[in-house]
């Protein structure tokens, strides 16, 4: 309580010139968007390796047919927790960390709009994952019914209470983070930073934040119903009481499909920053890019039942959701063509962020096409719950979302740390990752089309070869990410090569006008906006 008096004492002393010396004061009580962004990124990287280790268990078990290493229940825990950790612990916090670091720098704000709430948003995450992962060490084990928590399967065992509460904490964190981002973008822009001059990354986050506020409460509602069905005798998902297990799936996927775009729209934004920089051309079709993101977000609310084609929906619903889903290919196609057109005729160089971005465009498009195949209701009866689905969403989430995050880390780490990363090792990391990830996931298309179901520890010997190839790719891809860890640690702590303010020759935007590393406080007074310095300052409206 010593701080209470302190709080009052220097209320008017807003101008700090450096970070607090005390470790706890700086990192735990922080109101600084850069420090909180760093916390998010470090947390996400940690969870990326924890979730990755779960994936290694899965691939090791599937290396050969037959039960090899782990018990089936533990295998199911691994598939469930791999998904929950990667989605809520790695991908989403990584994007929020990037938003924290970059949005205030990109719009000329001194910090996020609500800095203390920002700190709470972050600190809920480690606690949420303590709740979730502690179940692994309990007598009854962790959640093993899949990350979608379908009842009645998910209601077996005691871990559901911990899972539900962990999801509540993550949801509160996401909602507060999203409110903060919207308020920052709408209220904290420097004078002259019009909405249609903002970087595409900022636009993508504005729309993503809206999606988060709209659907995280729905997930909270869905899991609350699971909790009351299990512990308080309600009958939401029990047909004997007039409820319906399929009701859960509807509510869950009403959250779940926008959630998919929550994990990819910021990736679109990142790639839309990086490709113009290394093509040394402004982005092609800036407004089309923004409107495409907005229309994808809108469509995400009316396609959820394509996850449920095989549960026995009425025919009309199957047809509606099939066509609505295929519509998404239109704005997504606009984006892919615009990225390609931005590169067309550009003076391109291929530094690591650009390599990851180009890989993103190509491999995400493969994931998009397999998504289009899955959108066909009659075909989905064959593909449903097979490895084809696994291959599809790993192409969009690993070579999509995760590659974009890695590209962003390479792109902005000179701004964050003031040091340039080692380009040779960056390229080694890229080529090792991009080859291994295809060895890992491409054969899974064939496995799925041949009928191998997902979420099983054992399989028919007919699937043995492709599984072994996939596992080899998996171990290789996992090991490749240790290179990334090495590059990051080396860059931050040991690299000799300093970065100039504008780390990349073709980079435009306000974030490159501040020193590298970005000082603890930037834009304490609103910067004067010079349209020539913005990536999109001269877009025709």
């Amino acid at each position: 309580m010593a701080h209470a008096a302190h709080d009052q004492h220097d209320l008017h002393d807003h101008e700090h010139h450096g970070p607090p010396k005390n470790f706890i004061e700086r990192w735990v009580f922080s109101t600084n968007h850069k420090d909180i962004g760093t916390l998010y990124l470090v947390f996400a990287l940690t969870m990326f390796f924890i979730g990755g280790s779960f994936a290694m268990v899965i691939r090791a078990e599937l290396f050969k047919p037959g039960l090899q290493l782990v018990q089936p229940y533990f295998f199911n825990e691994m598939t469930t927790l791999h998904a929950l950790v990667m989605i809520f612990g790695a991908i989403m916090p990584a994007f929020v960390g990037l938003a924290n670091w970059m949005i205030p720098l990109m719009v000329g704000a001194p910090d996020m709009a609500l800095p203390r709430m920002n700190n709470l948003s972050f600190w809920l995450m480690p606690f949420a994952f303590c709740v979730l992962l502690s179940t692994l060490f309990m007598p009854g084990g962790g959640p093993a019914g899949g990350w979608t928590m379908y009842p009645p399967l998910s209601l077996q065992g005691e871990s559901i209470a911990y899972t539900v509460f962990a999801v509540h904490l993550m949801g509160i964190s996401s909602i507060m983070g999203a409110i903060n981002i919207i308020a920052t973008i709408l209220n904290m822009r420097a004078p002259g930073m019009d909405l249609l001059k903002m970087p595409v990354f900022v636009w993508s986050w504005l729309i993503t934040a809206f999606l988060l506020i709209a659907v995280m409460p729905v997930l909270a509602g869905a899991v609350t119903m699971l909790l009351t069905d299990k512990y308080f005798g309600t009958n939401f998902f029990n047909a004997a009481g007039g409820g319906d297990p399929v009701l859960y799936q509807h509510i869950f996927w009403f959250f779940g499909h926008p959630e998919v775009y929550i994990m990819i729209l910021p990736a679109f934004g990142i790639v839309s920053e990086i490709i113009p920089t290394f093509a040394r051309k402004p982005i092609f079709g800036y407004k089309a890019m923004v409107f495409a993101i907005a229309s994808i977000a809108f469509l995400s609310f009316i396609v959820w039942a394509h996850h449920m084609f095989a549960v026995g929906l009425p025919m009309g619903a199957e047809i509606f959701f099939m066509y609505a889903t295929m519509l998404i290919a239109v704005p997504t196609g606009v984006k892919v063509f615009n990225w390609v057109t931005t590169m067309w005729g550009g003076s391109m160089t291929f530094e690591t962020p650009m390599l990851f971005s180009i890989a993103f465009v190509i491999l995400f498009t493969i994931g998009g096409f397999s998504g289009l195949m899955l959108a066909l209701a009659p075909a989905d009866f064959q593909y449903h719950d097979t490895y084809f689905v696994v291959a599809h969403f790993h192409y969009v989430l690993v070579t999509g979302a995760a590659f974009a995050i890695i590209a962003a880390a390479y792109y902005w780490i000179p701004k964050w740390s003031g040091n340039m990363y080692n380009e040779t090792w960056g390229k080694i990391h890229f080529w090792s990752s991009v080859i291994s990830v295809n060895v890992l996931f491409f054969p899974q298309h064939f496995l799925g089309l041949a009928g191998m179901p997902r979420r099983i520890p054992d399989y028919n010997v007919a699937f043995a070869n492709f599984n072994m190839i996939s596992s080899i790719g998996g171990f290789w891809f996992g090991a490749s990410q240790l290179i990334f860890l090495g590059v990051v640690i080396h860059t931050v702590f040991f690299a000799k090569k300093k970065s100039p303010d504008r780390s990349w020759e073709g980079a435009k935007g306000l974030e490159w006008t501040v020193p590298s590393p970005a000082p603890f406080h930037t834009f304490a007074v609103p910067p004067v906006i010079n349209d020539d310095e913005l990536a999109h300052g001269h877009v025709d409206h």
Binding site: H3, Q8, D10, H12, E25, F29, T31, A109, P110, A113, L114, P115, R116, M117, N119, L120, F127, A128, C130, V131, E158, A161, Y162, F165, A166, I172, A178, I179, I182, N187, M188, A214, P217, V218, A220, G221, A222, M225, L227, T228, G233, T234, N235, F236, N238, A239, A240, G241, G242, G243, V246, H250, I251, F254, G312, H521, F523, A524, V525, P526
Partner: protein, 296 residues
């Protein structure tokens, strides 16, 4: 208030309240999860941990808001901060709307799809024939809360009794808080305190009636949380609404105290407005509840 200039950004100082909040919420939910899984008669740490967490959460709210009120009264917040607060509150209310949306969605789905399907309509014909061929689907008491009548026979709360009274109470409270707001803007303190006080009373009266209705439902109507999907949607919707009214009433009471201490001025009273918005939101949710849970 607000003697800071608008063209200078305001970034608040470091604070330990966020980490206290995170620890408090963790303590609450971890305790709750442990408590829920305790065997009957088992002395676990869950219950104690849960209540410790609740106390911590309450203390955190008290402390965090106290420091925010102090800063506001010291004039640290400029117009830009005020706008951020407004956006924060509006988007928070939007998230609450979506939370209720999940439960309304469950209600509509049960009424329009799952219960009629169990009675053999549409593509539920086989389920009906093989599992519950004697079940005739209907919503409410005559549907018995599903084909297995899991909670036993029950009666429903008639809409035009207590629920109607509650509707009138909440609607009047929306009027009184608006009068109070006008009084605040017009600088009429007496009227402000009177009508804001009336709003608190009406909120409390609503809660009293609601708890009376719950007792009635449990004791005389056998309408319980177990009464099939009817009981589930009824109690979860009205229950979450009741929790929000409780929270809103507490917030109104705190705002009344702050008004009495003269914290607000004619044109600088965001705390009051935020609570008023919240109260109107709770009001609108009730109207939807009254229509779809009680009347129809």
């Amino acid at each position: 208030m607000g003697h800071q200039q608008d063209d200078v950004y305001y970034v608040p100082k470091n604070s330990y309240w966020p980490i206290v909040a995170a620890i408090a919420m963790f303590t609450t939910v971890y305790g709750a999860a442990h408590w829920l899984n305790a065997q009957p008669g088992e002395a676990g740490f869950g219950k104690g941990m849960f209540w410790t967490g609740v106390v911590l959460v309450l203390g955190m709210f008290f402390g965090w808001f106290r420091s925010v009120i102090h800063e506001s009264r010291a004039g640290s917040y400029n117009a830009q901060v005020d706008r951020s607060f407004r956006m924060g509150m509006l988007w928070f209310i939007f998230s609450e709307v979506m939370f209720f949306g999940a439960f309304f969605g469950a209600l509509f789905y049960a009424r329009i799809f799952s219960v009629p399907w169990l009675g053999g309509e549409g593509h539920g014909v086989l389920t009906h024939q093989f599992l519950w061929s004697t079940y005739s689907a209907a919503w409410g008491a005559s549907g018995g809360g599903g084909p297995a009548a899991v909670g036993g026979a029950f009666q429903t709360i008639p809409a035009w009794g207590l629920p109607l009274v509650n509707t009138l109470i909440l609607l009047s409270s929306g009027v009184t808080i608006t009068i109070a707001h006008h009084a605040l803007r017009g600088g009429r303190r007496g009227q402000l305190l009177l009508f804001l006080g009336l709003t608190v009373l009406l909120g409390s009266l609503f809660l009293y009636c609601q708890s009376h209705e719950y007792m009635e439902a449990y004791q005389n109507f056998n309408l319980t949380l177990h009464s099939g999907v009817y009981g589930a949607t009824f109690f979860m919707l009205t229950g979450f609404h009741g929790m929000h009214v409780t929270l809103g009433t507490i917030m109104l009471a705190i705002i009344w105290l702050r008004c009495a201490k003269g914290h607000f001025t004619r044109d600088h009273h965001f705390g009051f407005e935020a609570v008023a918005w919240y109260w109107h939101f709770v009001d609108v949710v009730w109207l939807a509840l009254f229509m779809f849970v009680y009347v129809l």
